[in-house]
Structure formats: C-alpha cells, structure tokens
C-alpha cells in the first residue's frame, strides 16, 4: 500500500518536472546583463524585439559592466552590456571566452551635484580640483567657490563602467587611483537619488541621467583652461573630456537571437532609442564598425 503511494508520488513528481522543463527546452531565451547605463536602450529594444520575433528576452543589471562581463564569461548571458572599453583583465579572467564588443553609442560621464551646491554657485570643476576632493584634501565647497558646506562625495562602486571612466580621466589609469574611503553607490538610479536627497553631495553619473532638475551636471575646466559642459554637441565633437563607449559584448561573433538583437540596436530604429535616452548615437559611417 505504502509502496504504491510512494510510486504514485514519484510519478507525479516526475511529471511535474517534465512539465516545467519542456518550455525551457523548446525556445532558448536571450539573456542580457550588465551596465545600468546601457540598460534603458536595450530594454526598449528588447520590447521591440519580443513583439516582432516572439522570442523570450531577459534584461538584467546585476553588478553593472563587470557584472555583464562575468555573466557572459560564466555563460549566464548571451549578451553583456558595458559602458566602457573591454579591458585586458576581462580576457585574463575568462580566457576561454572570446569577448567581442559591438559599440552602439557614446555616453559622457558627468560630475553631478545636489541642488544646494549648484544654486550655491559651483558650476565648474577642473581635474586637479576633482583630484583634491578624491584624495581628501578638499572637503568643503567653500574652497571651490560654493557654500560653506562639507563635500559629501558618493563614489561609484568598483566594477562600474562609470567609475572606470572617471578614474581613467582623473589618473590616466584606473589602477593608479589611490585607495580611498567614501560611501559608495551602485546603479545610476541609486546615485541620482542619493545625490538629490543629500545636501552638499557630489558623485559621478552618466551625463544622460543628469536631469538638471534633481541633480546638476558640472562643466569641466579642461587642462587647457577651456570650460566645457557635457552637452550632446560637446560630447559629439570630443571637446568634453570624459566620454566612454556604450557597448554590447558577445562570446565570439554574434549569432542567432543575439545577432538579431544587436542588428536591431545598430539599425536606425535602435539608434533612435540611443538618442531618446540622451546618449550619443553612432555616426552613420561607423554604424557597422565593430571594436574587437
């Protein structure tokens, strides 16, 4: 009696397993993970892609750019999103993976401040001033022509494309950046919320996310003395000094669904999405160019 019941239980368990496993076997989903900067563009493109091809697409932002590389490296995603160049480190960590990046647009990195700092008169920051803040020598906005208020610097987490671009601009190489102790922020949403809700706040943020209502993007005083705000024009002609590529990465040349998705991102419709989210689209001539 017990045996029969036990067997019944086993059979029902097995059938449940079989039922849940079947759809996964039928259509492989397209999994995308990585940078929160690239994410809004890809999410919109994924909506189009789903509607047109009927395929399953998952888009996630676990761990930012490095999370995208890790997900691709471990086979947890078919496409990684990164808001930086591919680094030699990425290849060292996952030697078996043939990373191939496809650029879909350009973003600038902005130094954003909270409303009180902006209204207090701080509109421009130079590289050496930023180094002073990052190295803890400058701790009050007064020294930079602003209100008498301490500087609350929210540092972008390590592994984020934004931080890499920032450190590259500030020290030439992220590896040369000194070890510092600041509160850290992760995704763009978090950075923006913390800056807008804290007095005297400063952080690094994708220029497209600096809305000018809750957080304000400072202009950069370049080493040659020229003051350049992160406008689309200044990013496009290269005069704004902290730009970085928005890329999607695949293991080897894109194939199947991943290729369809990337072709969509490179198409005029995909490029329109890049523009809509405040990023700089590819110049028409380089639209097909793939950076290895």
């Amino acid at each position: 009696m017990l045996r029969t019941r036990f067997r019944l239980l086993l059979i029902s368990l097995a059938s449940i397993l079989a039922a849940t496993a079947r759809p996964a076997l039928g259509a492989e989903p397209l999994r995308i993970n990585g940078s929160t900067t690239v994410n809004p563009v890809v999410v919109d493109a994924a909506d189009l892609f789903r509607a047109e091809t009927g395929s399953t697409v998952f888009v996630d932002t676990q761990g930012g750019s490095s999370g995208g590389i890790a997900a691709l490296g471990e086979g947890r995603a078919e496409i990684g999103m990164i808001s930086r160049e591919l680094e030699p480190d990425d290849r060292t960590k996952f030697p078996q993976v043939k990373f191939q990046a496809t650029r879909i647009g350009t973003d600038a990195l902005a130094l954003v401040v909270s409303k009180d700092v902006w209204a207090g008169g701080v509109k421009v920051l130079s590289r050496s001033q930023m180094q002073g803040i990052y190295e803890g020598r400058t701790t009050n906005w007064k020294a930079l022509g602003g209100p008498d208020r301490r500087i609350v610097f929210f540092n972008k987490e390590p592994g984020r494309g934004t931080w890499e671009a920032f450190a590259k601009w500030l020290y030439g190489d992220p590896k040369k950046a000194p070890v510092v102790s600041f509160p850290e922020v992760g995704a763009n949403e978090e950075g923006r919320n913390k800056v807008s809700s804290t007095r005297g706040a400063l952080s690094q943020l994708s220029a497209a996310w600096a809305d000018g209502k809750t957080v304000f993007a400072l202009a950069i005083r370049r080493d040659d003395g020229k003051v350049v705000p992160p406008t689309t024009a200044a990013i496009a002609d290269g005069s704004y000094p902290i730009a970085r590529p928005l890329q999607v990465v695949t293991n080897g040349a894109p194939q199947g669904l991943a290729k369809g998705m990337i072709d969509l991102l490179l198409s005029p419709r995909g490029q329109a999405l890049v523009t809509r989210h405040g990023y700089l689209p590819l110049a028409p001539a380089s639209a097909k160019k793939r950076i290895p």
Binding site: G63, R150, P158
Partner: protein, 306 residues
C-alpha cells in the same frame, strides 16, 4: 485484518518514515557541510597568498591585494549592537505583555500580527529605510554632524525594527512555556501580579529569553539587503576609538553589505580576491552559526519544572 497485521503495517510505516526522515535530514546536513567545504576550498588561494590572518587587518583594497576586514567586522558588530540595544527591551517588553497580560485569544491575535511583521521581505524594510529613516536619523544624530543619512546608526535602527518580531515572538514562547502552576503558587503566596512575572516567571524563562535575544542577534548579523541600502557602504572606516558613539554617525560597511555589493562581480575570475570574499563569507557563516546554535541550544535546554 487481524490486529497483528495492523500492528505489522504500523511498524513498517514507522520504520519507513524513520528512514525517509533520516535521509532528508542527511541531505540537509550534507548540503551544509558541502557549502562549508566549497567555501573553504574556494577561499584557499587567498589563504595561501596572504594567510587567514590577513583578514584581520584594517585595510581593504583589492587592487593592491589588501584584504583586511576589521572595519567590516566592526561595522557588523556596531550595527547589530545598536539593533539589539533597541530591539531587546522592546521585544522582551512586548513578549511579557503578550504572554502575561493579554487574555489568551488576544495573545494569539497579537502574536500572529507580530509574526506577520517577521515575514515582511527585508528589501521592503530597506526601501522604507531609504524613504523615511535616512532623513529622520539626521535629527537625533545632529550632535555628531553626519555627512548624510547613510550611517551605521541608521542601519542599526532599521535592523532593530526588523528583529523586534523575532525577539518578541521567541521570548513570548519562552514565557508561555513556564507552567501556569508556578504563577498560581506565586499568587497563592501573596505575591502580586507584577511580582510574580518579574520574580517567578521571568527568571524561569531566562534561558529562553536569552536565546530569543541571541537568535535576534543572529538575524541582525546576517541581514543583507536592508542594511546594504542605508549603510553607505564606505570601506576602511576603522574608528579611532572603538567604544565611542561618533563612528556610528558615519557611513560604514558590514560584512554582509560588502558581500552583497558589486565587488563579487569584479572578484569572480580573480582567485585571490574571490577567495578573500569567500573567506569573509565563511567568517560570517561561522559567527552566525555559532550564535544561532547557542540560541537554539538554550531554547531546547530549557526544561520547565512543574
């Protein structure tokens, strides 16, 4: 069916039940052991490079291969102490009220309410913390002039809210387990209601109450998401004076907020860095396991004397 057959079937059932439950417990134990072994093996590259002791240094900087976790250990302890200091009295007080003052039905209703609180996902508490607590904490901390609302104290207060249900519910169990006859005997001796609670019931329930506090502490130490959202995640905040209040008004890092951060993605594929993070995980596991084990042991050891 003769009674002998019934008896045989019954015995057979009990036997198979015993095997099944043994097998399932073995699976649980094996999973735990496997976890520990996996962590230890993955942490080996770090131990070989720097030695386990390197974890107890003051500086964490993975680019220079420094993996000192003392500031995070301090952060975890500070946050949990604040939480326990607030949640302990509230939780125990609530338990006394539930078990000793309320009539039976009201007690059950109250307990259900409290256990519902314990079931709220921690990320919800974390979002409430971001929404409300970060701003509220600026006022009580004004004396220490915090840079922002992301402080160790904020994390501690948030954790206190989260572990009150755990402490209250377990402490209530402990109090309720003291036999009624003890209360009657006390009252018969002319001791008032409050006296009976304080001098008779609470002392007998003491191991159980202590265990409730310990299990609350265990939950506080292991909590990740909520703390992650309000603590500021500032590395290398080793306080100048360990027992002063001032560092609580600054941002910091706990072991869990470190492990919950994006550094795991950077570390993956870099054996020493990855090993250091897993060593940190192992440390957390050991501490929380020790506390939970002691707590459970105290709770089980409690034998009510009639």
């Amino acid at each position: 069916m003769s009674s002998v057959t019934v008896e045989r079937i019954r015995r057979g059932r009990i036997d198979s039940l015993r095997y099944v439950s043994f097998a399932l417990s073995a699976v649980a134990a094996a999973a735990f052991l496997g976890l520990v072994v996996l962590f230890a093996v993955e942490a080996l590259p770090f131990a070989r490079r720097a030695g386990w002791g390197a974890l107890f240094a003051e500086r964490w900087s993975y680019r220079t291969e420094e993996f000192g976790a003392l500031p995070m250990i301090y952060g975890s302890l500070a946050v949990s102490s604040v939480a326990l200091a607030i949640a302990g009295p509230i939780g125990l007080g609530a338990a006394v009220f539930l078990a000793e003052v309320l009539p039976r039905r009201a007690r059950i209703a109250g307990k259900v309410g409290i256990e519902l609180l314990a079931g709220i996902p921690s990320v919800v508490y974390g979002l409430l913390g971001v929404l409300l607590l970060r701003d509220w904490m600026l006022r009580p901390l004004a004396r220490w002039d915090p840079l922002s609302g992301d402080t160790l104290a904020t994390g501690g207060v948030l954790l206190a809210v989260m572990i009150v249900p755990t402490v209250a519910s377990l402490a209530d169990d402990a109090l309720a387990a003291v036999p009624r006859s003890q209360r009657w005997a006390a009252r018969a001796l002319g001791i008032g209601r409050a006296g009976a609670i304080l001098r008779v019931v609470v002392p007998q329930a003491l191991p159980g109450l202590f265990s409730a506090l310990l299990l609350g502490l265990g939950r506080a130490l292991g909590e990740t998401v909520a703390v992650f959202l309000v603590i500021g995640r500032q590395d290398n905040q080793w306080p100048e004076r360990l027992l002063s209040v001032a560092p609580l008004a600054a941002a910091g890092q706990t072991v869990t907020s470190k492990l919950g951060g994006s550094e795991t993605f950077v570390a993956y594929g870099a054996p020493v860095h990855w090993g250091a993070l897993l060593a940190l995980g192992l440390l957390l596991l050991a501490v929380v396991a020790a506390i939970s084990f002691t707590g459970s042991w105290l709770a089980l050891r409690r034998v009510p004397r009639a």
